[in-house]
Each structure stands twice: as structure tokens, then as C-alpha cells.
């Protein structure tokens, strides 16, 4: 496969430092992290609580900006972008899967998945319906399109979230502890589903986890400790 051979960098992080200010105390979350993620990667970020996993995901997800260093997402330096440009980058390039699913409770499964497409404002209703139905079939929820999130189980909800993250065909999907709120069997199913999507659509997946089983599915793992990269199982991910 030619693209696979090229392995273009979709996310590139250089010497990133992130500090939070709590009153007058400066709390460092990341202390100089550098890494490159290539297109089609299925990358797992692991580490104990407070190691900076979520901060790193936030930076890649363009919901936060680095104190120092550069974060390049799909070739754009996020530091130079304003809120609207960051929002549009999230809308068109990124997909999010949250630990607690974060579906809009008053919308049906179908409408939740359709939501990002509506925000994109570039598809007709028929096009949207086709994409949503297709994805819901893939995640096995085509029987539940009219249900409300509250009527679904945790695993089903996370499937909806995956469908919502993928519906815009983003280049990168970020998942923060996607299995933390699920039992192990369901969690594994979810990871399998993500892996499947990764292989079919060549979508880059970056997810944080501290579940060893989940880690084992990743084709590269970044270990974080005290805001620094400790060691990598797949050193290929590092420069």
C-alpha cells in the first residue's frame, strides 16, 4: 500500500511544555514532550493519573494550547489559530470519543450522530442520512436509530459516540479513556471496533488508557510519567 509506505506525519509535537496556574503556583503538566503520529496509526498513550495523558490529548485535540513548544495538527500550527479556526479544525479534521460518552441527551441516536454533519453545513439531508445510517450499521446500532441515549447500555452509547466521531470522516480520532466506564468485555469490543475502523478507513486513532488489555491492541504505545515520555514499546513513534 503506497500511503502506508509513505506514512506522513499527521500530528507532530515538538518540545511541548504545558503549565497550569493554580492561584500563584505553577503546576507543570507536560515538561517537554516531542512525538510524531503518522497517518493510520493506532496509538495508545498510557501512564498513571496526573502523568499528563489528558493534557497531551487536549493539545492534539485543539481544545487547549501549549505554553511552549509547537503542536502541528494536519500540518497546521495550533498556536497561530484563533478560536474559530481551532473550532473548524476540530469539526473537519478531528473526532472525539469521551470517557463518559457525552451524547446530547435530548437527541436520538440518529440525531446525535448527525450533529457534526449539521455543524459542517455542507451536506444535504439525504447525504447526511445515508452517512449516518451507514455508520450506525457498521457499529451495529441500525435497530436503535430513534432511541434516546438514556435508553441504551454503556457499550451502545460508546458505539454511538464512535459513530459520531467518525461521521465526518476525520483524519484523527481522539479517545480519552474510551473503555474506562465499560466492563472489560464491552471495552474490548469497543477497542476491536475502533481497530476495525482504523484498518478500514485508515483513520488515525490516538487514545489514552491505563488498561493493559486495551494497550495490547495498539500498534504503538507512548508511556507518560510526570509529564515526560518515559519509554515506548514502539520506539518507531519517536524521533
Amino acid at each position: 500500500m503506497p500511503q502506508h509506505a509513505e506514512k506522513t506525519a499527521i500530528v507532530s509535537i515538538q518540545k511541548v511544555v504545558k503549565e497550569y496556574h493554580l492561584d500563584k503556583v505553577v503546576v507543570p503538566a507536560l515538561r517537554g514532550v516531542s512525538l510524531t503520529v503518522r497517518q493510520g496509526d493506532f496509538l495508545s498513550i498510557v501512564g498513571p493519573s496526573g502523568s499528563g495523558k489528558t493534557t497531551l490529548l487536549n493539545l492534539i485535540g485543539c481544545v487547549d494550547t501549549a505554553t511552549r513548544g509547537t503542536v502541528m495538527v494536519d500540518g497546521q500550527d495550533t498556536k497561530g489559530l484563533n478560536d474559530r479556526q481551532l473550532t473548524d479544525l476540530r469539526l473537519h479534521t478531528l473526532g472525539f470519543i469521551f470517557q463518559s460518552f457525552n451524547l446530547v441527551p435530548v437527541l436520538s441516536v440518529f440525531q446525535n450522530v448527525e450533529f457534526p454533519l449539521l455543524l459542517q453545513r455542507k451536506f444535504t439531508a439525504a447525504e447526511r442520512a445515508q452517512r449516518v445510517d451507514e455508520l450506525l450499521k457498521k457499529v451495529g446500532l441500525d435497530k436503535h436509530t430513534q432511541h434516546r441515549p438514556s435508553e441504551l447500555s454503556g457499550g451502545q452509547r460508546q458505539r454511538v459516540a464512535i459513530a459520531r466521531a467518525l461521521v465526518t470522516r476525520p483524519k484523527i480520532v481522539l479517545a480519552d479513556e474510551p473503555t474506562a466506564n465499560l466492563d472489560s468485555v464491552t471495552g474490548e469490543n469497543i477497542i476491536d471496533l475502533m481497530k476495525e475502523m482504523n484498518e478500514e478507513e485508515k483513520t488515525t486513532f490516538i487514545f489514552s488508557t491505563h488498561d493493559a488489555k486495551v494497550m495490547s491492541h495498539a500498534n504503538s504505545v507512548i508511556r507518560l510519567a510526570d509529564g515526560k515520555i518515559a519509554a515506548g514499546k514502539a520506539a518507531a513513534g519517536r524521533h
Binding site: 469521551f98 435530548v106 465526518t168
Partner: protein, 716 residues
């Protein structure tokens, strides 16, 4: 637009998603309900009340002399406005009528008179005096249209009938003296010694003595004088009645204000002097007080469904009736007294023989026996009583203080009583009686050429001399002057020729008919203008003012609302209160909704953060909160408006009963039928949109500040 639909979908679905939203919704519901109902009620009341005012006295507009200090205040009977008179009504009538929209111009002036009313014994003595000297004095002469009871038609009585009548009256007076004596004794027992003038006791004893009555027929006039001067004043039930009246061209008034209805008696014959008493005043001021109180209780029970047991006002009326039996006791002559005692004994199954005690227990009514006693009173007792102190056909002496401060008095014949249709129970519309313009002018102190001549002749006869102010001290107190103020007085009093002449003329006045020309030519205090098309009031007022300015009539034109003093302002007042209440509700709503939406927004931080993370722009989030709050407002506002409209429509069919007599005027009748006001409905919606919009702005702005990080970080 897909996302606009999405916003709407989210907002509509969110309405019932949170407890806070329901609270906000209920506030909006209550507020719109209030706006629709309150607005409709005030608007309808405005219309009905202006109808009351316009139809009863004010007309659509009023004109008055522009140099006046005050404005006409037709219903402010407690304070007569200081108005300059319009010297000649005929000069303004034509020009005002020349406007094509004016249908009538009716002269009007309000004044308050004092009617001093003699007490019960005075009235009997007067009858006795008349019976003793038939033909003298025609004060109590019955009206042509209203022949009174036969015994009053003194002219056509046989000698025998007259003798019987005199005897009966004499017996009645003796009975009264007996009652007064009893009272005095009681008084003496209760009060400190000397609280009763010993001379009065002596006078009473004299009047009660058989010797006094034995000598009565020989010299009736002297005996009567003794009774009138020494005895009558001992009965303290004489009354001073303040009577507010409108002096007007009665024929023109009746034609223009077609709500006018004659209740008792008849209309004043065209061109004649005379008065029509307001039925309301007639009932309240001139009716036998016990009977009037019974009427009030009866009405409260039958029409307002109240009970004596529960209403302290009614209990008070019962108590007054129980305690104040004097008026009835004094009215009954010995024969009637006996009849009354037997009626009451029968009704009460009592063996009591004392009339006051019987009456007291008869009037001690409760809810179970009231209607029966009410019927006994009117069927059996009332025929023996004079229910009204004044009857159509009687003449009333009306006294007023003129502008310059001296007292004018005029005898005016009462032709009947009237009411305004639909306003029968209104104390406000019923506060004014009607008087002919000629009498009104006399009472105003209007100086006619004849009067000037009469005054001149009196002045000459009395030796009055004009004393300039700067010489007053020297002239009056200086030693050099020969004329003496004190000396000149007896001359005037003794001038019988002049006084007698005046008296004869006065009697004639009540019979004289005036032509329209005579009525119109003279002063008026103002005039009501009736329009053909009331909707053009503003324009017509401008035209009339222009006519006055052009012809130099010196008039000022004001609308009905300005001319009715406080009452006219009442609608404005209620509107102001409604406005203030609305404003307060507005502010309270803003604060509460704002807080509630802030709280709701805080509860949704994760949801909003998620949307932002997925790619929703700040503007989307802003719109979402605003649209949600507005949708909430519109949904609950519609429910509130619907409920309010339903209530108003229901009231329109069922009607609102006036809680008291005051409201009859505002309701233009005993029941008020409000109607739905489109303005209030639209207003309610505008208010809802504005309030929700404004109160959602801050939380919406807050929502835009929610960071997408919060979607990820939450729940740790």
C-alpha cells in the same frame, strides 16, 4: 437551514428536560396570564367606565370659560371647582353647534347645596298649621301631575274631614310629646343631674298638660308657635343634607343623555323650574332610615348572596335598626301606634305592649327570619309610615353659599327622581341631582336686571350708603357722620312692602314657564358637548377650540376624562398601576429567569463543552441558549395567554359582579363583561420575547465561555 432546525429541535426537547425550565416556564405562564387578563380588564373597564361617564353627565367634551382657575370636576362633589361663568350661553351654543360632528350642547354647572330638613315633629306641626289655616302658604302644595294622598288636598275638604284631620294630628303631637318626655326622663336617669335643661322639662310638662290642649282650638296659632319654638328642637333628628346637583337645561339634558330614566314622579314640564332628585340620593338621604337599612340588608341577601351571620356590615345595620326606632315611633299617631303594636305582637308572638321594645325585637333580624319580617314591614307597617321625607311634588328649600360667600336660597319643586339606566346602583352616577338652569342661576348668585332694581330699592329704603374703603374708618366710626349703621337696620326689616312683594314673586316663579330663548340667554358654568361620532373626539375638540378662538368666545375645550376630576383620572390610575405592576413583574421575571437559565447552563457545561469539542462555534452555543429560553417563553407564554384568554372569554359570558356600589360606575352596571383585548395579547407576547431574550443573554454569553476541555475533564 439544518442547524437552525437542530437548534429548534434541541430547544423544544430541552423545555421539559429540567426542573429549572419548568420553574421558568411557570413564571412566564403566570406573567402572560396576568398581562392578558389584567390588560383586558383594564382596557374593558376603561371603555365601560368612559361610557358611564359620557352617558351620565359629562358628554364627550366639556367647554368652560378659559379664564377659570380650575377645570370642571363633575364628580368631585366635595370640592366645587372655581370656574368663571360663561356670561351668555346663547352666544356659544350656535357656534359650537356649527361643527358638523356636534349633535348637542347642553349647559351644565355643578354645585352643592345644603338642605336643612326639619325633624318629624316639625313636619307634623306644619301639617297642623296648614290644616288650621287653609289657603295660607302653598309650600306643601301637591304637584299637578302627582296628587298626593287625599288628606293633603286641603282645598277640597269638608268641615267634618278637616276636624277629624286636625284631631288626628293633635293626637299625634301629644303622642310625640309623650315620647319626648319619656326620653327626657331616661336621659335624666342615665346622665348627670342637670344634663337636661329644667326649662325644657317645664315646657314639656306644659305641652303635655290637658289644659294646654283644651285651649288649643281657641288660639291654634299661638299654641303652635309654642310647640314649634319650645318643643320641636328637643327632637334631635333634624338633618342637614348636602345635595350635589347639576344645573342644566333639563329638556336638552334628557334628550342628550338618553340613559336618563324617571323613576318616581315625572319629568319637569318643559321650560319650568324644578328639580329631579337622583334615585340613589333619594333612597339614601330621604328614605326612612330603618326602611333604607332593611332595603340594604335585603339587597345584600338576595342579590349578593351574603348572610347576616357572616357579614359584620349587615350585623351593624341590624344593630342600628334595633337601636334607632325613634323615627318610626314619632311618626305614628296614637291610633297607628296601637295598630303597629298589634301587628308586631302578632308577628313576634309577644305580649309586650311597649312599641319601641316591640320594634327593637322586630328589627333584631337574622338570616332565618329576615325575609319574613321584611315582608311584614312593607306590607303592614309601611302603609302607616311616611317612607320618604320628601315626595314628588314637594318643594325643597335649597341653600347655597355663593362665590362671594353670602347665602342664597331658592324654593325648588321636586318633580321626581331619576336614574341612569345601567348605573342604578352607582353611588357615583347617583351622586348628582338635576336642577333647572333658572334656579341654578339664582343659587349661583347671578344678578338679573330685576334683581339689581330690587336691591337698589331695598338699599334706598334701608338708607345704605356706599363707603369707599379708604374712608371706611372715618365714615363708620368717625364722630362727624350722621348716618348710623345700627340705626338703619330696623327700617329694612320693617319694610313690609318690599319683602311682601318679593315673596309673592317667589311663589310665582315655580309656576312660570320659560322659553328656550330665556333659558339660553344667561350665564352657564360650562356645557357638555355631545358628538355624533365619538371616535373623532380629538379632531372635533381641536375644531371647537378653533371656533372659540376665531369668534372670541373665550372657551376652553377639554375631553370627558379631564372634566370629571378624580373619577376621570381613575382609569389612568388603574392603567398606571397595571403598568407599574407589569414593570415590577418584568424586572422580577428578568432576575428569576436570568438566574434559572444561568443555573441550567451551569448544569449543562459538559454538554456544551462536548458540542464545542465536536466543532460547534461559540455563536451556535449562544444561539442555542437564547433560542431555548425563547422557545420556553413562547411555549409557556402561549399556554398562559390561552388560559388568560379563556378566563376573559368566560368572564365575558358570565360577567363579574360588582363587589360594591362604587364599582357599578366603573363597571357601567351591576355586572362587568370584559372582553379580550388584542393589544394585551400582543403585548404579552412582546414582553415574553423581550424578557426571555434579555434574561438569556448573560447565561448565553456564559455558555460561549465554556471550554471544550470541560467536556473531557468532567467527571474525574
Amino acid at each position: 437551514m439544518g442547524w437552525a432546525l437542530l437548534l429548534l429541535r434541541i430547544s423544544l426537547r430541552n423545555i421539559f428536560s429540567s426542573f429549572l425550565n419548568v420553574i421558568v416556564g411557570l413564571i412566564i405562564l403566570a406573567a402572560t396570564f396576568f398581562f392578558v387578563v389584567g390588560g383586558s380588564l383594564v382596557n374593558s373597564m376603561d371603555k365601560t367606565m368612559s361610557k358611564s361617564i359620557i352617558d351620565s353627565v359629562a358628554g364627550h367634551a366639556q367647554v368652560y370659560e378659559s379664564s377659570s382657575k380650575d377645570k370642571p370636576a363633575l364628580f368631585d362633589s366635595w370640592q366645587i371647582p372655581d370656574l368663571d361663568p360663561i356670561p351668555d350661553f346663547s352666544k356659544i351654543k350656535g357656534p359650537l353647534l356649527s361643527d358638523p360632528n356636534v349633535s348637542a350642547v347642553v349647559p351644565e354647572g355643578v354645585n352643592t347645596a345644603i338642605v336643612v330638613y326639619g325633624n318629624t315633629i316639625d313636619q307634623i306641626l306644619e301639617k297642623l298649621r296648614k290644616a288650621e289655616s287653609p289657603g295660607a302658604g302653598s309650600i306643601m302644595e301637591p304637584a299637578q301631575s302627582n296628587p298626593g294622598p287625599p288628606h293633603e288636598a286641603s282645598g277640597q275638604m269638608t268641615r267634618q274631614q278637616r276636624k277629624e284631620m286636625i284631631d288626628s294630628l293633635k293626637a299625634h303631637v301629644r303622642q310625640m310629646i309623650f315620647v319626648i318626655q319619656n326620653d327626657m326622663e331616661k336621659h335624666n336617669k342615665i346622665g348627670a343631674a342637670g344634663s337636661v335643661d329644667p326649662q325644657s322639662i317645664k315646657d314639656l310638662q306644659h305641652a303635655a298638660s290637658p289644659a294646654f290642649w283644651a285651649g288649643f282650638d281657641a288660639d291654634p296659632l299661638n299654641h303652635l308657635e309654642f310647640l314649634e319654638n319650645k318643643i320641636a328642637y328637643l327632637v334631635p333628628d333634624s338633618d342637614q343634607i348636602f345635595l350635589s346637583y347639576v344645573g342644566t337645561d333639563l329638556d336638552a339634558f334628557a334628550k342628550s343623555f338618553d340613559r336618563l330614566q324617571i323613576v318616581d314622579g315625572g319629568m319637569v314640564p318643559p321650560g319650568h323650574r324644578g328639580m329631579l332628585l337622583s334615585k340613589y340620593v333619594y333612597e339614601n338621604m330621604f328614605k326612612l332610615k330603618s326602611a333604607h337599612r332593611l332595603d340594604q340588608i335585603h339587597e345584600a341577601i338576595t342579590e349578593k348572596r351574603q348572610t347576616i351571620a357572616k357579614n359584620p356590615d349587615l350585623q351593624d345595620l341590624v344593630r342600628q335598626n334595633r337601636e334607632q326606632t325613634h323615627e318610626i315611633v314619632l311618626q305614628l299617631d296614637p291610633l297607628s301606634s296601637q295598630k303597629a303594636v298589634s301587628i308586631l305582637q302578632g308577628a313576634l308572638h309577644s305580649k309586650e305592649t311597649d312599641l319601641p321594645k316591640l320594634l327593637s325585637s322586630f328589627f333584631d333580624t337574622n338570616d332565618s327570619n329576615f325575609e319574613a319580617r321584611y315582608k311584614i314591614f312593607y306590607d303592614q307597617l309601611a302603609p302607616m309610615l311616611e317612607l320618604y321625607r320628601l315626595k314628588p311634588g314637594d318643594t325643597l328649600t335649597i341653600k347655597t353659599y355663593t362665590k362671594s360667600g353670602y347665602v342664597e336660597a331658592v324654593n325648588v319643586k321636586i318633580y321626581g327622581t331619576f336614574q341612569f339606566r345601567g348605573l342604578e346602583k352607582s353611588s357615583m352616577a347617583g351622586s348628582l341631582s338635576l336642577m333647572d338652569l333658572m334656579s341654578f342661576r339664582d343659587l349661583y348668585g347671578y344678578v338679573t336686571p330685576e334683581k339689581i332694581a330690587e336691591t337698589k330699592s331695598l338699599e334706598k329704603a334701608a338708607g345704605v350708603k356706599f363707603v369707599p374703603r379708604d374712608q371706611a374708618e372715618a365714615d363708620l366710626f368717625g364722630g362727624s357722620t350722621k348716618t348710623d349703621v345700627v340705626q338703619s337696620q330696623p327700617k329694612a326689616i320693617n319694610d313690609e312692602a318690599a319683602m311682601g312683594g318679593a315673596k309673592v314673586k317667589r311663589v310665582d316663579l315655580t309656576r312660570q314657564a320659560y322659553t328656550q330663548d330665556e333659558i339660553d340667554k344667561g350665564i352657564v358654568m360650562g356645557a357638555a358637548v355631545i358628538l355624533k361620532d365619538p371616535s373623532k373626539l380629538k379632531q372635533t375638540m381641536k375644531n371647537l377650540q378653533a371656533i372659540s378662538d376665531k369668534d372670541n368666545l373665550g372657551l376652553k375645550v377639554i375631553d370627558w376624562q379631564q372634566s370629571t376630576g378624580f373619577v376621570g383620572q381613575f382609569v389612568n390610575l388603574t392603567k398606571l398601576i397595571l403598568f407599574l405592576a407589569s414593570f415590577i413583574i418584568f424586572v422580577v421575571m428578568l432576575v428569576i429567569i436570568n438566574n434559572a437559565v444561568v443555573m441550567a447552563t451551569l448544569q449543562r457545561v459538559r454538554e456544551i463543552g462536548t458540542m464545542r469539542a465536536i466543532g460547534a462555534r461559540r455563536l451556535f452555543v449562544l444561539f442555542m441558549v437564547v433560542v431555548e429560553t425563547m422557545a420556553l417563553g413562547l411555549v409557556f407564554g402561549t399556554i398562559g395567554s390561552a388560559l388568560g384568554s379563556a378566563l376573559v372569554v368566560l368572564l365575558e359570558h358570565v360577567g363579574m359582579a360588582a363587589p360594591n356600589d362604587w364599582f357599578y360606575f366603573f363597571f357601567s352596571g351591576p355586572k362587568f363583561f370584559p372582553w379580550l383585548n388584542a393589544g394585551s395579547l400582543i403585548g404579552a407576547f412582546i414582553v415574553v420575547v423581550i424578557v426571555t431574550c434579555i434574561s438569556a443573554l448573560y447565561p448565553a454569553w456564559m455558555a460561549t465561555r465554556v471550554s471544550p476541555i470541560q467536556a473531557i475533564a468532567a467527571e474525574d
